[in-house]
């Protein structure tokens, strides 16, 4: 078994912290909150090999309501904020190093924007909202964004969107999870526009969070039904529910899929967190190969660590693995206490 050790506690927000995001290119971590601000922390490794975090700046944002979600572009230069004021803010540093400036505001959603996500190439941004839609934006130079499509397939609030990390043939897939209990998968049809090619049903309540496996062949979803489901690509355009894990005692608000400490056949580590205040780490492996393996054979899963009361008595709203080489065992969480906490998974 493994244990989860505290590395740092980063207080700062005056209200519930909703999300946390590691900059993919720089040693920076961002969190966002109901206090309408974004906080940025930088980290470095001391000579003793200890990770040290220091607050570097705070962006007041100018959003008039909760900043619900944040996403870094793959270059690490641009930060997108999704707010309950229905707008999306696009932020860059002056001359790449100075004050954070609002480059543009993307308007379009009619009600709360609940999620933003960049594609792995950085050329697309997806946003989702209580207005039941998912918007796909094309990223042009000079903070110019063009709406490529408005996907209206969900029947209720859309809580989460995510692009597949890698580009499984033939195209990147966009996934969205909703208050209507379903997950929708979309691809870009070269002859037409983005369209929904699959609806994944199985959850008994709101889908709060989605995470692609590092290999791109699985998708994990977290739900108000207290379970985490694993969906597997069994054909080019077919995804099936292969596993439902009773993960938490209350709503599962967040799921993150990292590479973990790779082992043979390893699919990485899944981190889950929720309204019961705990964080759980699951190890996933490809199914044991026997003579005949059905395509929808579930991966093997094992709970390798549990951290109760990660944020005291408060809900944990977000969990996110560091993607940095050498830091695959480092996890960030954000909670209703307004804090961001950093954890290390050790044997």
């Amino acid at each position: 078994m493994y244990k989860v050790s505290a590395v740092a506690e980063l207080p700062g927000h005056e209200d519930r912290a909703w999300a946390v995001a590691w900059n993919p290119a720089k040693s920076v971590l961002a969190s966002c909150s109901a206090d309408k601000s974004v906080r940025l922390y930088s980290y470095s490794t001391t000579t003793d090999g200890e990770l040290k975090f220091v607050p570097v700046s705070s962006i007041p944002t100018g959003h008039t309501k909760t900043v619900r979600s944040i996403a870094w572009s793959p270059s690490g230069e641009t930060l997108a904020t999704g707010s309950f004021d229905s707008n999306i803010g696009i932020w860059e540093q002056e001359n790449g190093a100075g004050e954070w400036e609002c480059m543009t505001i993307l308007e379009g959603h009619e009600t709360e924007c609940k999620g933003v996500a960049y594609s792995s190439t950085g050329t697309l941004l997806a946003s989702c909202s209580r207005d039941k839609t998912v918007w796909v934006w094309e990223v042009h130079p000079d903070a110019d964004f063009e709406c490529l499509g408005v996907l209206m397939d969900h029947t209720q609030d859309v809580n989460a969107t995510t692009h597949s990390h890698i580009s499984p043939s033939p195209a990147q897939i966009l996934a969205s999870g909703s208050y209507d209990d379903t997950i929708k998968l979309y691809v870009d049809d070269p002859t037409e526009d983005w369209y929904c090619f699959s609806t994944l049903t199985g959850h008994g309540s709101t889908v709060w969070s989605l995470a692609w496996s590092p290999s791109g062949s699985y998708l994990a979803s977290a739900s108000d039904d207290k379970t985490v489901r694993i969906w597997k690509r069994t054909e080019e355009f077919k995804w099936e529910s292969v596993l439902a894990i009773s993960a938490h005692d209350r709503t599962v608000y967040s799921v993150s899929w990292g590479v973990g400490k790779p082992k043979e056949g390893g699919l990485g580590w899944l981190a889950t967190a929720g309204g019961d205040g705990s964080v759980k780490i699951w190890e996933l492996k490809e199914p044991e190969v026997t003579d005949v393996v059905a395509k929808n054979t579930p991966p093997e899963h094992r709970l390798i660590a549990t951290l109760p009361s990660a944020h005291g008595v408060h809900d944990v709203n977000a969990v996110s693995w560091s993607r940095k080489t050498g830091m695959e065992d480092i996890l960030a969480t954000a909670g209703d206490d307004g804090a961001t906490r950093i954890w290390k998974i050790t044997p």
Binding site: R16, F84, R130, D157
Partner: protein, 175 residues
Amino acid sequence: MPAEVFNPNPVVFSPTKGLGRKSELLAQSLWIDEPTSSDGEVDDVELIDQDEVFDLIRSIYDPEHPNTLEELRVVSAPQIKIEQNWVTVEFTPTVPHCGMSTLIGLCIRVRLLRSLPNRFKVDIFVKPGSHQSEHAVNKQLNDKERVAAALENPVLLDTVEQCLRDAGRRGLPII
């Protein structure tokens, strides 16, 4: 206020002092019958029972009537359950098509959010079979993102504040 009145003529019950309260029935201190707090319980953790929670919500006004939720028998002490730090509040809409149910539930949630220690997790449900959109109402009331967004809506928040304006009376009459 809404143009449509969902229940124009509700039955109003006079709030007999202590009606339905376990502690008054026992005519004893609120704390005496509680499980002993001596073994392992930290002293500064305040014990809270269903009567205490009922006191917090009984004087919330109904959004469309000049009566409290207690007077309309929308809430009662036996409909409140507490297990450790989990509080479950069930309430009874006055009519099954009551469009005010989500607002009533929101008022109860906000009141408890503001007055209970933050270690408590609160679930709010309508009484099973009491509302035609039971599932939808329950889902909305227990979705913290929707609740958070609702409380950032100034009009809605103002309505909630109106319903909560005398909630601090805790069942006592207006002086």
